[in-house]
Symmetry: none
Subunit: 318 residues, 2 copies
């Protein structure tokens, strides 16, 4: 339509706001808030999620203040407008708020439940990424990629699946890898390791006696030991390279712990890093694995229910 005015307005609003985390800023300026603004802050902090869905009129009504006061409140927080405040809040919120409040949401239907569980899962992965020590990760990738042989240790229910998964991830790359969940086997295998070998130990609690012992045995024989565990635990202290992950456990025993997702993510990252490091060698192995699986699909034709029996389109290996 015209040219001068809109562009100026645009430039102002479309610029990325300096504010990163409204929630923490809110806490920071809390002291300098006027009484009326404080009331607004109270309403907002009471339910961030809802605050993002309210209009300025609703928020004002709830806080029992006038609408201009709400606008002023937003300005105090460093936003230029109420809408910017809402967007910033929503952006800040993402996983964190839902994740934190999740204990409460628990009682409802399957949808609510799924929301809780899955947001926690996604949150755990994110949390893990936030706190990840990339230097340690890099060293772990180097160490494992250079290993002639890799042992994976884990103990306890949750770790069983993880260890199994880790084995597959590395195995697919053509690495000679073994996984042990039994304490005796762990120690026995550890005793046969050599300096050119590697160990990957997985334990959320970091207190599994057999795993820690096996790691120490492996170290005494010169093998490089990598641990995925919680900081400050025996396992973290005894491994050469510790990849530390702290995930807040929910208090509700009925929801499975989300830390598994974080561990799995670390394992995947290790696997991807090793694959990259190994370059063509691993790619070749991966190709051969896929090819063979596809061939098996051909050799054993699936029953009539299968629409495309000859060549599975999707990830044959699952």
């Amino acid at each position: 339509m015209n040219e001068g005015k809109p562009s100026k307005v645009q430039r102002g609003r479309l610029r990325k706001p300096a504010t990163i985390d409204i929630v923490s800023r809110l806490e920071r300026v809390d002291a300098s808030l006027s009484p009326a603004e404080r009331r607004v802050a109270d309403i907002v902090t009471a339910d961030y999620e809802m605050a993002t869905r309210m209009t300025i009129a609703e928020l004002a009504a709830r806080a029992e203040v006038s609408q201009p006061t709400v606008t002023r409140f937003c300005r105090t927080l460093g936003c230029t407008s109420f809408s910017e405040f809402k967007i910033s809040l929503a952006t800040t919120l993402t996983v964190a708020a839902v994740y934190l409040r999740s204990e409460r949401i628990f009682d409802d239907d399957a949808g609510q439940l799924a929301h809780t569980v899955m947001m926690r899962a996604a949150g755990a992965v994110r949390e893990c990424l936030d706190q990840l020590d990339t230097a340690a990760l890099g060293k772990a990738i180097d160490a494992l990629a250079a290993s002639h042989r890799i042992d994976i240790y884990g103990q306890g229910g949750g770790s069983a699946a993880l260890v199994e998964d880790a084995k597959l991830r590395l195995f697919r790359l053509g690495l000679p890898v073994s996984a042990y969940q039994d304490g005796h086997q762990q120690r026995m295998s550890a005793a046969t390791l050599r300096p050119c070998d590697g160990v990957l130990a997985i334990s959320n609690s970091g207190r599994s006696k057999t795993v820690v012992e096996a790691v120490e045995i492996a170290r005494s024989f010169g093998a490089k030991t990598v641990a995925i565990t919680r900081p400050g635990t025996p396992l973290a202290l005894s491994a050469d390279i510790a990849i530390l992950v702290t995930i807040a456990e929910g208090t509700d025993v009925k929801i499975p712990t989300p830390s598994r997702y974080a561990h799995m993510a670390v394992i995947d990252t290790l696997a991807a890093g090793i694959a990259k490091k190994m370059g063509d060698r691993s790619r070749d192995a991966l190709r051969r694995v896929r090819y063979t699986l596809a061939r098996i699909g051909v050799a054993i034709p699936t029953p009539s229910t299968d629409p495309t029996p000859l060549m599975p389109k999707h990830d044959t290996e699952e």
Copy 2:
């Protein structure tokens, strides 16, 4: 003015929106978009961040469509208003924005790699949540919670770990559960099932011949069968209750597939739902499991490196 209307409007907006992940929804409905809506989608996907800061007029101008078209676009995406769309987008953003660009980021250091892998993982879970059929989920929870005995079937590398994990989740609740990855065992076990029993089959590809057969056998004996798989696959068609999950596979073979995270999330949700359904019965089982594990911790004192050997503070079961 009047009294009935405003409250109704309020109620509508403050209700939590069904939409969880706008970005993945946007991709999913892409085909059913009209030309003008497509143009809006293009502008939005070009820069999500900026989209959250734009007014409807700006967005319309950029997409070269009228403002009502933008509103219609939002409705198509399941939002009731443009503002809701913006908020949903902003909420989605932090996780999803990077997730989408992830293929490109791949070549760098360990940090970059971790970012890619983990964002994909978190994205997979979110994507899963967004497309989840909660009705099917609810039915699955009911069916499994009512089962006297539960068999879990899966085949192939990736599923092995998942099946193991699923077994543990249900086992912890005090349910009599068995997991089989071997085809023969699956069929044999399926043949011993009765109408009061349940089956949980897990397969991303949905084409595992043995799993499909085992499910069909189980059904023929009257057991309730639940499948977690991809839509339109043989497994999805043969199970009583199909929980369908479509996760885009990455093109880079070196990065492990993120669909496992989604499956795990579904399993966790099932477990949480069953736990809730069973109420005190499962809580008791969980408590006993934890207690016993703690006792074992006492009976086998950990070495001196362990700061708190008597009573592990964190999740002893991992």
